[in-house]
Amino acid sequence: MITSEQARDTLRDLVAALERAADSRPSIVRRYRIAGAPVALHVGAGGAAQEMLHAIAPLECPDDNSPPLLSLYIWDGQRDGVTLPESPVLRRDDAPEAGLGGYAGDSLRAFYQPNAGVLSLLDTGCRRGHWWLRDVATTPYYERAAPFKHILQWWIADRGGALLHSAAVGIDGAGILIAGPSGSGKSSTALACVDAGFAFASDDYVLIDATHPPHAHLAYATAKVVRSSLDRHQHHRRHFRNLGRDDEKPMLFVQDVAPGRVGSPLALKAVVLPFVAHRTTTRLVRIHPAEMLRALAPSSVLLFPLAGDAAFRRMADVCRELPCFRAELADDPVDVATALRGLLANTQAVSARAAE
């Protein structure tokens, strides 16, 4: 049995070793604005790990000398020549229930995915993190779709926000959060809205900040669809990156489809729970905040268990503060987008009347 003290000591030693290696590694620094905050990503000059960053490309910005609120070092273990130490804390290949799953102690957070070969580390005290990939060439595509999501969750939670398992789209800076478990229609709804001219903030993971009501911020510009729905997305076919891989969900980066409509923050006006109802016209039904929280929270919390209590409270805030609707979806994506456009117009009008 490994104690939390053993895990802490091993992880602290590992962080120190990575910090030393970072000092001697030729690297480049890329600047981003994530949820409005300056972030610096340190990537090996060799270039392989940079391939992992397409999903956040719309957030890249020039260096304006703002001190970063997150400094993240990205490692390609194979090309950087940095391997993890032999330690019972990290040895899970033969016994998944043993060794490190997750660690949260003091300011240190860690999560190890042994099969994917991914270790996420963040010190929330100094806002420095490490995202170590055993080998970029063999890193699963879902990490490319949503890079360093555990680190992002810990970091945004420390800033009073949360990373939600939700989609978000909007018009003119006003947005709708689309919640629900996998398979509920989040991605299809988000892409239907993108095709209708909406701005895009997420199809699967979205950052919300600490404002009340919150703003939704792009976490990843990735959109993934189930293979059986590809016919509906034929017009985007050339943008899907992985159609040749039957074991992967087809994935595209929305900046390729809708350049200029990805990455702006959205002031959230409503939360929608999609339901594939095969209706002729989409119907919106007001639901209780508790029902929405049941749809929103479990998958968000359980995908990031170390975020825990604070993220859960933030999700409850969102459901209390915003009107919640079930969207009984029509089969026609144009109709779905029209219904959500109408919802946004109505909630905007209600907000304007309340402000008068």
Partner: protein, 167 residues
């Protein structure tokens, strides 16, 4: 002998705590950090981060949750519910005890020492007595397992399924 509990400061593969099926303690606390709960809109949602099971408490159960999770003795909770709902204390005590036994069996709460005698009766607004209803949801594990994008095995949850034994 009490089992060691993971501290709030450091969490490391927290073991699943197996609770007793009988309620033999007067006071309870939420089995944190494994379990988190949030009251919303007259209901309480509870998530067990280790098992992946989540729960919904409604009616009298939701009203009693803040008292239970604050470590108020069961007899004081029963008295408060009895006064607020106009129901015989013995009936409430019987229902509450069964409810807490269920929560304990699900590792949602654990027995704890009572810090001190409460100064007075806990506050509870007048309400209709609905019994102590709790809904249990274990659907998410299946939902995540069928979604290859989320690769739940690599997120550390849910734990690997135990191999089925031949009948």
């Amino acid at each position: 002998m009490p089992q060691p509990q993971p501290s709030a400061a450091a969490r490391y593969n927290p073991p699943l705590q197996r609770g007793a099926l009988a309620v033999d303690s007067a006071c309870f606390e939420v089995n944190s950090p494994t379990v988190i709960g949030e009251a919303i809109d007259g209901e309480v949602m509870v998530i067990n981060l280790v098992s992946g099971i989540y729960y919904n408490l409604t009616g009298t159960a939701a009203a009693a949750w803040p008292m239970l999770s604050a470590g108020i003795p069961l007899d004081a909770i029963a008295t408060a519910v009895s006064h607020a709902c106009g129901i015989d204390t013995a009936v409430v005590t019987r229902d509450l005890t069964g409810f807490v036994a269920g929560l304990t069996a699900e590792d949602i709460v654990r027995a704890t020492g009572c810090a001190s005698a409460p100064a007075g009766l806990p506050a509870m607004a007048p309400a209709t007595y609905t019994g102590f209803a709790i809904s249990r949801y274990d659907d998410l594990r299946a939902l995540l397992v069928i979604d290859p994008v989320h690769e739940v095995g690599d997120f550390g949850w849910p734990p690997p399924a135990e191999p089925r034994k031949p009948a």
